[in-house]
């Protein structure tokens, strides 16, 4: 299975049709070199997902990998055509069957063709999440400043991408919170946090890999909720909210580290005291 998957990925990457993983495909790519190749949402690949009917592959992965082939694109070319056309109707009609049907129509299909999408309206929401996440890699980042401000910039850029569909974001969140969609939604949130940290140039591989991603996920979700009620110019309030939360996370991280250091030092000292008394430790 692996060689086939490898060759398929290589082929699609060569055709510029890799849906998600433009930055991940290149080995030598540095995170700072952000301007990406042209966004591949409008995929022109003619390969259909079911070219090999019995080959089921994972369609997503929760982390960046240099040594594994990228998963196949999440939507087939026809699905992408319908969804991208439907997405243009979202600001007017929301994440709804109406948008889907209008999209199918403008893509040259029938109203009934929206049945191709297995999750209906949720497919449209997923399209929004995936395409906006992919567009993040085109964010121009200042080369020098510290990691935290780059993370903040990227997170805020992603939040701003919700602005055109903001009136419908609450209904989208409600759909994402439906029990059958929660796993997909949470996985997408995790991938987004990973993407932001990757693009910001975080290369830490210690246990903070997990805590950073977990806290960023929570902060992003909170900021998104805050944003649905934000009416300030240019979402100033959301940016301030985001900055405060990130600052708190940093402080909290520092506090946890200090506590951990203190506990570790005392535990070690305690063991050494016991050893000095002749305990066989």
């Amino acid at each position: 299975m692996r060689p086939q998957a490898l060759s398929r990925t290589a082929a699609s990457a060569a055709a510029g049709a890799s849906w998600l993983l433009t930055p991940r495909a290149a080995w030598t790519r540095t995170p700072a070199a952000t301007p990406s190749t042209s966004s591949s949402i409008t995929s022109t690949s003619t390969t259909t997902r079911r070219a090999q009917p019995n080959l089921i592959q994972p369609t997503s992965r929760a982390y960046h990998a240099y040594t594994h082939p990228a998963p196949p694109p999440p939507f087939s070319p026809i699905e992408t055509a319908i969804l991208s056309a439907a997405y243009t109707h979202v600001p007017t009609h929301g994440f709804s069957r109406t948008s889907l049907a209008l999209g199918a129509r403008s893509a040259g299909y029938l109203d009934i063709s929206t049945n191709l999408l297995p999750d209906g309206v949720f497919s449209l929401i997923k399209y929004h999440l995936l395409s906006q996440r992919e567009l993040l890699s085109t964010t121009p980042l200042p080369p020098s400043p510290p990691l935290s401000s780059r993370v903040e910039l990227l997170t805020f850029t992603r939040l701003l991408a919700n602005a055109p569909v903001l009136p419908h974001l609450q209904s989208a969140l409600a759909i994402m919170a439906q029990p059958s969609y929660i796993p997909t939604s949470l996985a997408e949130l995790a991938v987004l946090a990973d993407e932001i940290l990757y693009l910001a140039g975080d290369v830490a591989v210690d246990p903070t890999w997990y805590t950073k991603r977990a806290s960023l996920s929570a902060i992003y979700a909170a900021s998104e909720l805050f944003m649905t009620n934000d009416s300030s110019t240019g979402f100033r309030d959301t940016r301030a909210f985001l900055g405060r939360r990130l600052g708190e996370a940093e402080e909290l991280g520092g506090a946890v580290r200090s506590v951990g250091e203190w506990v570790g030092f005392n535990a070690k000292a305690g063991v050494n005291v016991l050893r000095s008394w002749g305990a066989p430790i």
Partner: protein
């Protein structure tokens, strides 16, 4: 997940029921897979123009009837016998066998397809009339729900439903039931007698309504290619003698962008405990209920055996893809853990 594997280890006897299927492989699907493996490079469009042998109906080719092996012609005859025998008690039996749950499945099936949904835009009315073909829809369960969803819920009277069945006895039951519908819905409904493997020869149900086919001396007409928006078949396709041929016929009559949707019993292998319960119910109780209520044990024995012989969700999905449809996601949706499954495919635009 871990609990499930433990359970599977602890209860090996559960798997005996599912191994029945493996000992008697489904003839056309194994053939299909070997074909797919040998010619995986052929695109869907080319495969629809060059029809493989197994998708051409052949009355003398062996197929299965429950656990028996019969020829395709014989299967058509015997399935006709089964459904003529059960037509009168069909709906009552469905309720008893599935505790009324089949209504939930059918409601969900129709609601998820959402026929007749067609948003208006400014300017001229963009809505095109929809034509739904309900294959093996004899008693009208799906057809009537389609009409209700389209006309009443979606307020779109431009939706016609053609109910087709190979068995006039089942159609007669459906025709009788349709007299309960509102007149506007009755007007949008038509009944034809046809073999789903060859929709070029259809016969209107009653001999009195000759007006529709007055031009044709043999009183038969054809469902033209590229004329159907939505092709549905609910709990029918496993009785077909040649499923690949029926799928290709569906592909022919559908418009580009049209949807093939199938509701059918499927495999519960993913849930061993439920599978055990389900198998003991279907093999232990259903033929007995059939004997007591409908006075016909053999027909219901055939019913449960034909469910057992029907391919798994994945194999059937691959048959749909092989017929030239494209599917989204996994290509199927399990209902009640896989007791039934909905398969959908769309005919791509050329």
């Amino acid at each position: 997940m871990a609990a499930r594997t433990l359970l599977r280890r602890a209860l090996p006897s559960m798997r005996s029921a599912s191994s029945l299927r493996q000992s008697s492989p489904f003839s056309s699907s194994t053939l299909l897979q070997s074909r797919a493996a040998s010619s995986s490079s052929s695109s869907p469009s080319s495969s629809s123009s060059a029809i493989p042998d197994y998708a051409i109906p052949d009355p003398s080719r062996p197929t299965h009837f429950g656990y028996e092996t019969v020829t395709e012609a014989e299967k058509i005859e015997r399935v006709a016998g089964v459904f003529t025998s059960v037509a009168e008690s069909y709906d009552r039996m469905n309720d008893l066998m599935s505790f009324g749950w089949h209504r939930i499945w059918k409601d969900h099936f129709v609601a998820s397809l959402n026929p007749g949904f067609s948003p208006l835009t400014s300017g001229p009315d963009p809505r095109a009339p929809q034509h739904i073909l309900d294959i093996a829809g004899g008693t009208g369960d799906i057809g009537f729900r389609m009409l209700h969803t389209a006309h009443t819920l979606n307020g779109n009277p431009d939706v016609r439903v053609t109910i087709s069945d190979i068995n006039p006895a089942m159609l007669t039951v459906g025709k009788q039931r349709s007299t309960q519908l509102p007149a506007s819905q009755q007007a949008a409904l038509s009944f034809v007698e046809a073999n789903a493997e060859d929709l070029t020869r259809t016969k209107p149900l009653s001999s009195t309504s000759t007006t529709a086919t007055a031009t044709d001396s043999h009183n038969t007409s054809s469902i033209p290619s590229n004329s159907i928006d939505l092709y549905t078949v609910a709990f029918g396709i496993r009785n077909f003698s040649n499923i690949p041929a029926a799928l290709r016929e569906a592909h022919r009559v559908l418009k580009p962008g049209g949807v093939f949707a199938c509701l059918e019993f499927s495999k519960v292998d993913k849930h061993p405990l439920l599978n055990t319960l389900y198998k003991s119910w279907s093999f232990g109780a259903i033929p007995l209920i059939g004997q007591l209520v409908a006075g016909d044990r053999d027909s219901y024995q055939y019913l449960v055996e034909s469910i057992e012989r029907f391919p798994s969700q994945e194999a059937f999905r691959d048959m749909i893809v092989d017929a030239g449809f494209i599917v989204g996601g996994d290509g199927f949706e399990d209902l009640t853990g896989g007791v039934a499954a909905i398969h959908k495919g769309m005919k791509p635009r050329v």
